[in-house]
Assembly symmetry: C2
Amino acid sequence: MSAYANARDQGFSRNRILSALPPGERQQVFEVVKNVALPIKTVLFEPGAPIDAIHFPIDGVISLVTPLNDGAIVEVATIGNEGIVGVPLVPFGGLAVRAISQVAGHCLRMDATAFLEWAERSTAFNALVESYTQALFGQISQAAACNRLHSSEERLSRWLLMSHDRVGSDEFMITQEFLGQMLAARRSTVSVSAGILQRAGLIRYVRGHVTILDRAGLEAVSCECYTVIKTELDRVVRRAPQQGEPPTS
Amino acid sequence: MSAYANARDQGFSRNRILSALPPGERQQVFEVVKNVALPIKTVLFEPGAPIDAIHFPIDGVISLVTPLNDGAIVEVATIGNEGIVGVPLVPFGGLAVRAISQVAGHCLRMDATAFLEWAERSTAFNALVESYTQALFGQISQAAACNRLHSSEERLSRWLLMSHDRVGSDEFMITQEFLGQMLAARRSTVSVSAGILQRAGLIRYVRGHVTILDRAGLEAVSCECYTVIKTELDRVVRRAPQQGEPPTS
DNA sequence: CAAAGTCTGTCCGTAACCGCACATACGTGA
DNA sequence: TCACGTATGTGCGGTTACGGACAGACTTTG
């Protein structure tokens, strides 16, 4: 989204983790984050490198990928407005993965030091972060199983569904070449799988332009992993006290 | 190991996370843990179930596995005396994986409530736990990539090496049937891969009895994932102040 | 309109592994 | 010693996806 409800909001309430905070704390967190645009293929951190900032996606999709020595990469998790990029965060520590944006969008950026202070000060914030960390942990575990056992068509469907949930639109951009990297499959394999989905009327896919036509159909083709991951991620914010509308200020 | 240096120690110092604690705190932690034996195929927790206790392995190997609807399971991490079973722990939360012992051994068991209290009270303890959590996160990410891209022979070698590191012996028990479940491969595939390793003189494998004959050779056959994971796990305790010998009491 | 670049559909030989089956070898206990 | 259960080695057709290549279609740029 390029226009926000109002200038002060800055899309703040559109990250579901932050939305789940008590209104008072939400306002305070608002003071320490900055809305940044993430063009496609922006790298937020590299494996082993110290993480200087935490990102709360508003729209767009960010992937955690494991790079291998031969240059191949494998996606292990996708993160959107339901999550946080950069956890688990340890002072001076780094994660073993690369964070890279797959679908362009926006994030709320919080310095690592501010994040750690907040986690220490606010019980609600800390609980949400830890709960999400656990869910992310589960997502990666499920991806590990999925990568091993499920067909490229199932995994493609899952990827499309997860992205669809996150971008908030039936259309988004992703080339088959890039998709192949995410799924750790040949581009030609992606082309074949996507062709099957397309002929079945589930999607339209023209030169990097994906349109979701039949969500229910995609869910039927996808493996169970989609539902497992979605259920677990939803639980993170559902467990927190429901928040009302953002303050009209 | 069935005999400990002394009764009070109870193998305490053989878990590398606990060993990395300052001596004073180590003694205190000693008061709240209990040495328990884990026969093979003991389940410590199931996906989604609340975790009532944390385990610090002394010997043996515990695996985190993701079960799928069709009954298949995939190993996403193995944990031995370098680690902790049950993190990241959140009050009333559960992990999306099953923890099951693969090679029989012993653990130091700590109640979840005691664990949470300790993490809050002790900075050193908390730092170790969080650092390990990050490393475990990396291990699962690497496994996700490995499961997708590497051959059964590479993965088998990696599994054998990781187990070898943890059991502290050149011999351990694991049937091909069980190994196949861990690697999410047919037993016959395991048989073929193991046969290749065996004919190459790297291992001996007779009716569930594995003997590591040539570690260096195995490392050459294994994929890079072994080294990546080992390096990351080693960093956890290397970052902490080195501890001396256990107190002779 | 022409040219260059990008993206996609398709093909083919090959490799790895599945899914299943069967035979053999080892170990235990009667 | 024999019988039985367990564990392993092996074989074979079928499937999936690799690895590499090529042509066509669309888009952008000049």
